[in-house]
């Protein structure tokens, strides 16, 4: 039985308080101490970016899981973030806007995944493994392309390989754009909450209940890709937030889109702010790339979820 009534309200309150506490800690802690100027000009933009990117990635993961009917889907694991990296690099090299490149790359990777996974999705048998492997291969192709682009064009305008391959929040800007994007995405999901809940029953089951399945899936694909693109343009290809957050919420007993649509971005923001805080203070004054920290948290959890789902 899922969380309901007072237990759900309690959990929601805990989630919100925990996130607020983390945001406060992230603003106040770190090298340099409690300098007001430092907090306003350096830490605040970074915390906002971490929160925005985390929220976007969690929503992107949630939408991809519904779209692909696979609780293990995530924009990083399925190659969408990698596609965004390649698109962004190509855009920077050819002088096009970074945002357009990242969004276009993510969308293209998403469409390719859907096309390749078409038969797996259509089959009534359990094709989860095939889908995940297809996504993993797309992700590795995107990683290879990004590496090639970086090697062939040693351009100092480009950020380093770490940014494009695992993600990094140092120097991240325009975090508020991500927050607004996440808000729009969450509202989009909430407006379709009954349809999204029905889609989770299966595309055929949803179609039998009168849902415009094809249109819904395109909307989810576009939203998930744009969110991944925006996140990658801001902080590079950070992984596993989209997998870990909705999955943990489900394990807690949150089952409905009504709650998942806002708890996922809040949880995603909290997780990435926490990971970034850890990245900043664990070996201070040195900084770790937050993407590496996330991968260290996310990959073992992914394996755990995978083994659990196989039972």
């Amino acid at each position: 039985m899922g969380l309901q009534g007072t237990r759900l309200a309690t959990f929601a309150a805990l989630l919100l308080t925990g996130t607020a506490a983390l945001l406060g800690a992230a603003l106040l802690l770190g090298s340099g101490g409690l300098d007001a100027d430092l907090i306003a000009t350096l830490r605040a933009p970074r915390v906002v970016a971490a929160a925005g990117v985390g929220a976007l990635l969690a929503l992107s993961g949630l939408a991809m899981q519904v779209l692909l009917r696979n609780p293990l889907a995530d924009p990083y694991v399925m190659g969408t973030s990698g596609g965004a990296s390649v698109g962004a690099l190509l855009a920077l090299l050819s002088g096009v806007s970074l945002w357009i490149g990242a969004a276009g790359g993510a969308l293209l990777a998403g469409v390719m995944l859907l096309a390749l996974a078409r038969s797996a999705l259509a089959a009534s048998d359990d094709a989860s493994a095939r889908l995940i492997l297809t996504g993993a291969m797309l992700a590795s192709v995107a990683g290879a392309l990004a590496t090639l682009l970086l090697t062939l064009t040693p351009d100092e305008r480009l950020r380093g390989a770490i940014f494009w391959l695992v993600g990094d929040l140092s120097g991240a800007q325009h975090g508020w754009v991500c927050l607004l994007g996440a808000l729009a995405f969450a509202l989009t999901l909430l407006a379709r909450r009954r349809s999204v809940d029905r889609l989770m029953l299966g595309s055929e089951a949803a179609a039998l209940l009168g849902e415009p399945v094809r249109r819904l899936r395109y909307e989810l694909l576009v939203a998930a890709s744009l969110a991944a693109g925006l996140a990658v343009a801001t902080a590079g290809a950070i992984g596993f937030v989209g997998l870990v957050v909705p999955q943990l919420l489900r394990l807690t007993g949150v089952q409905r889109t009504r709650e998942l649509a806002w708890m996922s971005p809040v949880g995603g923001a909290a997780l990435l702010v926490a990971a970034d805080l850890a990245a900043r203070i664990v070996v201070a004054p040195m900084e770790l790339p937050v993407g590496a920290v996330m991968a260290l948290i996310g990959a073992p959890l992914f394996i755990g979820f995978l083994m659990r789902s196989g039972r």
């Binding site: 609780p71 989860s128 209940l209 009168g210």
Partner: protein
């Protein structure tokens, strides 16, 4: 005679280079309970899917609901007219049974979910997650889900495939209470069919078919033609002759 809820004209179905059903022209009305019989892989599920308007490998001819061809129905209108319970549910996300029935409702004030759960001995499952149910429990929930949709035409693919004898009887009793609806289901247990169905549609496997009231369709010769083994009746029950 009331107007047919569903009608097929020259419906031909095929799969893997083989014709499963040829030129089915057939009608089903409210209050009728049709059982589709035939050996394994004869195309019972394919037929039910085609009747529900779902994709099948190959089909020709038309299926109409209330006199209008399936393709002309808007998805939301179709949802209020026909419901379909597949043989097996393929759950990927946790969801409570109660919530599943809520999501399934398509006709306002259509069916009372608690009455359905009671009738199907599933009240105790209301708060459980569908992914933790046994095969038989999950199937009874799927039947409740199908009825909760509120549609007058219900298509059920082997509704008692995973039920123990007591629950087979319970499902049968429940089906008998749905007197307003038009039911089309597939099943294998001839005695169960004899107690539930008003009509039988027999598929012969070579594309041939035969339809009629249960009393005329369930006889030793016809059953032998369908199943390829000999039958006799003893104390009102059908038995296979060894």
């Amino acid at each position: 005679m009331n107007r047919p809820l569903m009608e097929t004209r020259s419906l031909t179905l095929g799969a893997a280079g083989r014709t499963l059903l040829r030129d089915l022209s057939w009608q089903a009305r409210g209050g009728e309970r049709w059982c589709v019989i035939g050996r394994n892989a004869v195309g019972k599920s394919t037929l039910l899917r085609a009747l529900a308007g779902l994709s099948v490998p190959r089909r020709e001819g038309t299926v109409s609901w209330l006199g209008r061809s399936q393709a002309e129905w808007a998805p939301a209108d179709a949802a209020a007219l026909r419901a379909f319970a597949p043989q097996q549910s393929n759950d990927r996300f946790p969801i409570a049974v109660q919530r599943l029935l809520e999501l399934a409702a398509c006709v306002p004030g259509g069916s009372d979910p608690w009455a359905l759960l009671r009738a199907l001995d599933a009240t105790h499952l209301a708060e459980r997650d569908v992914m933790q149910l046994s095969g038989g429990e999950r199937q009874r929930v799927a039947l409740a889900q199908c009825a909760a949709q509120g549609a007058p035409l219900m298509l059920l693919d082997e509704p008692v495939a995973f039920q123990d004898p007591a629950h087979q009887r319970q499902v049968a009793r429940w089906l008998l209470t749905l007197t307003e609806r038009c039911l089309v289901f597939s099943a294998h247990d001839v005695n169960w069919i004899a107690g539930v169905a008003t009509h039988v549609l027999a598929l012969h496997g070579d594309g041939g078919w035969e339809a009629g009231p249960v009393a005329t369709m369930l006889d030793a010769e016809r059953l032998e033609a369908v199943y390829g083994c000999r039958w006799r009746q003893a104390d009102g029950a059908w038995l296979i002759v060894e």
